[in-house]
């Protein structure tokens, strides 16, 4: 009786285990796998040679672009101030100090120190180009020749300059004496 039960259990277990271990997948499993493999092969950047290098280079370029974007971004406030200066044209054209002194004071909240510094720089950089400052007047032809002479013959140039000074002083002295001797001056 026991052996019959045991055989019965064995038989049943075999059947149940066979069902347990051999499920049927959905139709077309192989095709789906092949399609997925093809897709993975096509899109797999890291499977290609130098794939990692390419990805790293792209990342580095992106980071540089972002960094440049952050640090060289113009601030809105300085532009507005500079715009007021140029539009009003009330700034006297006598140099940087005057320009900064004439800068309109901010109303409302105070900017942090760094922004104020930036503001000053922005004011400078956006100042309209002036006629006489900061570019110097170019030397005349005579001055250029004199400079060349002085460079070539410094001793002689110094003697000539001294003599010229002396001559100028003599002339001035003579003029003074003439003025003193004239009858108008006596009255």
């Amino acid at each position: 009786m026991k052996t019959r039960d045991s055989d019965h259990l064995d038989e049943w277990l075999d059947k149940a285990l066979q069902q347990y271990g051999n499920p049927e997948p959905r139709i077309g499993l192989e095709s789906r796998i092949l399609a997925n493999m093809e897709a993975a092969r096509e899109s797999g950047v890291f499977g290609r040679p130098f794939g990692w290098l390419f990805a790293a280079a792209s990342l580095a370029v992106m980071l540089i672009v972002i960094w440049l974007g952050i640090w060289h971004r113009p601030l809105a406030a300085p532009q507005r101030v500079a715009g007021q200066q140029t539009a009003g044209n009330a700034v006297p054209q006598s140099g940087v100090k005057t320009l900064l002194a004439a800068r309109p004071r901010h109303t409302g909240t105070k900017l942090p120190p760094r922004r104020q510094t930036h503001l000053a720089h922005a004011g400078l950089s956006r100042e309209p180009r002036l006629d006489q400052f900061p570019s110097p007047r170019p030397l005349s032809e005579q001055e250029v020749l004199l400079t060349q002479y002085a460079k070539r013959f410094p001793t002689e140039a110094r003697l000539v300059a001294r003599e010229q000074d002396k001559f100028q002083q003599d002339i001035q002295q003579a003029e003074q004496e003439m003025k003193d001797a004239s009858p108008d001056s006596k009255q």
């Binding site: 039960d5 045991s6 259990l9 064995d10 049943w12 277990l13 059947k15 149940a16 285990l17 066979q18 069902q19 347990y20 271990g21 051999n22 499920p23 997948p25 959905r26 499993l29 192989e30 789906r32 796998i33 092949l34 997925n36 493999m37 993975a40 092969r41 797999g44 499977g47």
Partner: protein, 179 residues
């Protein structure tokens, strides 16, 4: 050369996709997860494409990869631990179905009950039994997958079956006594 490799890969897929699927299913017990795991197994295979020519037993090799992938995925799944009471209740249901001639035909339901009993087995016995149920995997191939000896695998399978039978017999006896 590349074309030959592609053809070899396709042949492997066509030949062993079902085996990989069944191994994955034996661990994950879910068609959707088993198919996902099978896809992963063959995408992994792409990495080893250059080495394909050097591999002698493709079947055992794929079975091993499939087992590892399935186990990894199984670890990520929430663990459903069964208490002794739950195991007994599952076995009772099986026994009652076993005695009924009508329900004996509905094997899928019995199989679902069997899952509970098998998952309650100790891990070495459970792994060997799970793989032994897969059609076409010999004890020698199971030994390769589980990195053990063939004789050890045979004894583990035998022991696992014994435990299952004992539980069923004990419960069947109780079932008959209560009638």
């Amino acid at each position: 050369m590349a074309g030959t490799n592609e053809d070899a890969l396709e042949a492997i897929v066509r030949e062993h996709a079902r085996l990989a699927y069944r191994i994955a299913y034996s661990v994950l017990r879910n068609h959707h997860d088993a198919e996902d795991a099978t896809q992963e197994i063959f995408v992994r295979l792409l990495r080893y494409k250059p080495k394909l020519a050097g591999i002698q037993d493709h079947k055992a090799w794929i079975a091993k990869i499939a087992w590892r992938v399935a186990i990894d995925r199984g670890k990520r799944q929430p663990v459903i631990s069964m208490s002794e009471l739950e195991v007994q209740s599952a076995a009772k249901q099986m026994v009652s179905q076993l005695t009924s001639a009508e329900e004996n035909a509905s094997g899928s339901e019995l199989s679902a009950r069997l899952v509970s009993l098998i998952s309650a087995l100790p891990e070495p016995l459970r792994d060997a039994l799970r793989l032994s149920t897969i059609e076409g995997l010999s004890p020698a191939e199971i030994a390769q997958v589980l990195e053990s000896s063939e004789s050890s695998i045979r004894s583990r399978i035998f022991r696992a079956r014994q435990i299952l039978k004992e539980k069923l017999a004990a419960l069947e006896g109780k079932h008959e006594n209560t009638r």
